[in-house]
Symmetry: D2
Subunit: 400 residues, 4 copies
């Protein structure tokens, strides 16, 4: 029982059952109704999670969380990933989960009091505003948003997009250049901007893969017009923006990967179930077809491989810190994202026309998780970065 023990297996079983009985039955509605309409029932489910003592499992108890280890969290994250709003119900969803970690590690006590505690309790939501339409997200050093100090305030101007869940959020963590003259990696800082700040303009929710969405389920384009916030709203030291972003991304990638593995397992289960029961001819089931068998076998192997890689990375990160696993983090990001795409594709193809409909969850993932190979660094950037690190050991510095 690598990476686990009987007690933790019991906890996983509890989570599994909760999802099956409380959340899976909501899926069809969640896929077809606006977020605002579903929010009340999701909040009721969240209450149950709170009663189970499992809310914000990624946060230490002192802030109100469950305090799971990274390896445990990863395994719970897989389970939550099996349904689109699993993480939300447990209050460990992006981008709030990352913002909580950021605030816990680097914010002042005042900011923690004001923003972190209600976040952990699930009373408010937040967003993270970094990517800009004018610049390639793959190169974070290109950034036009500026925060200029005016006495004890920052005046922020900029244009962001893909600010997930901005609608309804209480505040944004904004990445802005505070010192354009500094060294490339020391130019920016992260600053909290409440969404009711004058000059905060939510231009639109982006139409992404056919859906503009709303509330938590949306990705906003935002303009910051002379937004004025106290300098004390900065998280961490001046110039620490990229460092914090990097720090945020490490465990963040593990969380994404495990969520994807959850999607894979659910898709795999749907595929096998359908293969075993869908008749295509007198006495012939889909599962009798060798092509379907190949897909089942290949998916099983790939998911197993993916999970072991991610848990192994989490284990090493837990033991030795984030720096030691930089290469592993890059590897799992592109490796698991591709397993995800393949498994989803096979599961959908197995279901034929049914798989295209929103009567099932597959088509939702098929279109929304296409983003997995893009956000947090596209595959191509991770591959080059991993190769760069390896080639350095062979004496070649690609960047030089």
């Amino acid at each position: 029982m690598l990476f686990s023990n009987p007690q933790f297996e019991d906890l996983k079983e509890q989570v599994r059952r909760f999802l099956q009985h409380e959340i899976y039955p909501l899926e069809k509605d969640l896929l077809s109704k606006p977020f605002a309409q579903m929010e009340p029932v999701l909040m009721q489910k969240r209450d149950k999670v709170r009663q189970m003592g499992l809310l914000a499992p990624h946060m230490p108890p002192k802030y109100g969380g469950t305090g799971l280890s990274l390896v445990e969290l990863a395994q719970i994250g897989e389970l939550l990933g099996t349904t689109p709003y699993g993480h939300f119900v447990f209050n460990c969803h992006a981008p709030d989960a990352g913002n909580m970690e950021l605030l816990a590690h680097h914010a002042s006590d005042e900011l923690k009091e004001k923003y972190l505690l209600p976040l952990v309790k699930g009373e408010i939501r937040s967003c993270f505003s970094m990517t800009e339409p004018e610049y390639a997200g793959s190169n974070p050093l290109q950034m036009a948003t500026k925060a200029v100090v005016d006495n004890d305030h920052y005046i922020i101007n900029g244009h962001k997009w893909f600010t997930t869940a901005a609608q309804g959020a209480q505040f944004a963590v904004v990445m802005a250049v505070t010192n354009a003259q500094a060294q490339a990696y020391n130019r920016a800082a992260m600053i909290i901007v409440p969404t009711d700040t004058e000059g905060f303009e939510l231009v639109r929710n982006l139409p992404v893969m056919g859906e503009t969405g709303s509330g938590y389920a949306s990705h906003a384009e935002i303009k910051y017009h002379n937004c004025r916030v106290p300098v004390t709203n900065r998280i961490g030291a001046d110039g620490s923006g990229f460092m914090l972003a990097q720090e945020r991304l490490g465990p963040g990638r593990i969380h994404h990967c495990m969520r994807w593995i959850g999607i894979c397992e659910r898709s795999f289960d749907l595929m096998c179930r359908y293969a075993a029961t869908r008749q295509i001819d007198q006495g012939v089931m889909l599962g009798h077809k060798q092509t379907i068998q190949n897909w089942i076998a290949e998916s099983r192997a790939e998911i197993n491989a993916a999970r072991l890689m991610v848990l192994h990375t989490a284990f090493n990160m837990q033991q030795h810190g984030a720096k030691v696993v930089r290469n592993e983090i890059a590897a799992i990001k592109f490796y698991v994202a591709n397993v995800l795409q393949q498994v989803l594709d096979r599961a959908l193809q197995t279901h034929g026309a049914l798989g295209l409909t929103d009567d099932m969850v597959l088509a939702y993932w098929y279109r929304h998780e296409r983003a997995a190979r893009i956000y947090d660094g596209p595959d191509e950037v991770h591959k080059s970065s991993l190769a760069r690190s390896i080639l350095k050991q062979y004496g070649l510095d690609i960047k030089a």
Copy 2:
């Protein structure tokens, strides 16, 4: 200038310019607004096509069409495929195009008068009702919809789905079992059922890849409750349903394939354009990256290969008839559908987050053309069927 000549190149250029100036600029609206709202402007554009003498290019002049040959039609089809409503504007879109061909070849003069002529003129729309949710579409012999003769009428009962464009259509061509005792391939017939027939119930437009759509842009679930239509509404002889479906699919697959190649070319163009102009670092364009270069080169080769295969098949079908190219038809169906998926995937990935938005046409195709590997027979069925035919030449009859 294989498969073409200077005069025909001029015609293609004319179509190309029309699409670029009249239709491409509408795309963003077409992707975001309900069909009903866009229908008037599409109809205005269709008027222009009518004035150009290019309406219904697949139909012979005697019915009001342009009368292009199959090889010419294929090339025009590629151009129309470069934009989501290209075929619609030229009135040669599925399922109406196939229904027109069906009526032209097999309907009585009375039916032609009543249904074919207004279809060709683009005054009415129709739909094609074959697939049933309870049975695998890959095996057309499984079918529960029945048409029972009652004097000189059929009484039709059944449950269909993926009846594309049913909403707003004047009539459906319904595939129904008329003689359950006949040999498997002789059991069914195609019957025209006007959509205002009592008992015709449009249950819902299916939510497909996040969109239920409306009007022409929808896929309906339909129930036929004791629908009563004259026996003279049957198209062709009794028991000819499967034969007609097969006949319909041959050129239909060429049209699909060429439309996909149009999508590929447009996606390729968008990819190259973006690669050449998107800066990712000081003086470094996306196109400087070898991975992007690989995608461009591989896509170019694959699209070229796909087009040659389809035009060659069309050419042979034109010369020697549909039977001779049965194997070729199977091969292009799965081959081109896979090229489509790969090219789209690369084009989308090249655009990063932008590619996920409906500010571009790529995400629309990414989700809607996933169906290409499923409808008209999934890849797996075409591969087995092609292999069966080949192995027969080596003395092995797989079906035996």
Copy 3:
């Protein structure tokens, strides 16, 4: 340090150094000279291994081996796999290693004394004679070789091929049908046939991938003409042949997989080394090319995934026995074989024309390890078998 500890890491380092200093330098000769010519120097190296106390690491000390656990053995096996004759030098090479395990677990004391002890000491060699040219190896139930009892002897007749290392072996373990009337899986037995038995005909060494080879480095076609051996030469109970073959294959597949991972790591190392040092233009190294970077990154991820899967399987087999990991065994067999092929292909392509020559070890593996996807059950069989086992959990029995 999952699956290891500091002490075992020291042992691995010792093995690593031995291979680098004693065996790698022999490779060019090993690749170009006949086995007989190289055998003496290999035997000298084996003496050194004996002095290090590492001979036959897979065997318990009571038979003269090192007594490593399966998880440890797997890791040593990876190291030995980095060079073509690594396992041979440590006397844990196929097919002798499998024969030793077979004899240790199932042979009579007399047979152990006579055959096992000298095998463990590395004094004699053996072979394993199962596959027949007339029947598909993927279906072991098809078998024509027969052993008929005549008093207290078997009289064996049959035709085998791919009997690896038969030339120079002292005995063959022959799989033969002893009771054709028994249930399919109980028809055969394994019987020791000394190669000097009358009627044992080594027809030829098969030309495999351009090489007929000789001695240990060969694959023989063999005919058994009325070979007469005592019934006591049978290993295990009558009818136990398939069961023993199955038992042999379990750990055997782990050994193969780890050897392949060793090949992958060595190929990866060669690829990176060449990428870092091969200039393709003024100041431009191969490693500056993004395509090469992609190959390095993808290979790194795939090898990591492969190793974790195999070690995890070995760990589970060690903890819970072979039956529990049947599915895992099937998964690693095809998964790792495909990683192997991809990594080898990339490493070879990176080296360009040099990679095709036998001045390097890559071309040797490229041609000889193509067999990895075929022997011990082709990929296709393992996939179907894994899928069958999974679908059974969903209520579908494919075989029924």
Copy 4:
């Protein structure tokens, strides 16, 4: 009958029959015996080809060839490619075929008389000495071999490898730098060096994929030590070396591609034949397995696509010259090489262990045609070069 006509179909049928009856039966010997031993029988077969009037089909009649057009030649080349020595028997094999074209177009009358005519007659052989071990073949501008003028002679020094068929050749066409100060592409020239010139050292035949080979079937490493040849041995103008190499490669790539398609067709035929006749269980043939069916279908589609692309390129080159098809040439080179590798891999896997033996031709091609993705420019170079040309049309000059 695109690209053909009934008369030419008859010629193809004649060639097909000749190969089947005269050459295929020799294959097993050709794969296992040294070239010198097989040369006499190959020469007898060549006599028959001469009598059929088909010797040197690529050369114009004025030099003694058949004078086929490029499109015809391509189709004959496919047929010859179905067996390893097909081109040799018809005297249109590499590197002699390319050398003949080179001499025909650019050599002086004297050189033609001395070298071209006996080549066309098949009386002598030649080789082409360009690649150097110290430099990446992918960048032809890197070259150390030098030819220094000394009165009316060149003195040549250099180190080459992969000089195919040098053993037994009467002369080499050597690429050497004659003017190191000239612009990069004008530095070299092609010079004829008879192999009996003093200082011509055939260092060794390279061991390639396990075979050093001999005679025509070998690839030599060669050193040129102060080789002295008349300046009149230069082919074409001084500085024209790269231009001539480029010119040589255009049709050369078409010939390679068609030969590969021949290999594909033969492999496909072997695969289907085996699938239809190899029993894997009572009444179950390999061809009943859907995986095998997939391979057959995919291979059929890919080979068709590959052939159309190459013939279309040949057709365009014939009509409009080599420059117009530069992009097409790059595309077919990598596209067809990859189809070849896939089809070969599937055919081999279908045959199981038998496919690994030299009892069949598949393993020979598997190891020797791995070079297809490397010589004449590796895939990666062709892809970048094609992408560069395309991106230029979009305003981005990658090289700038």
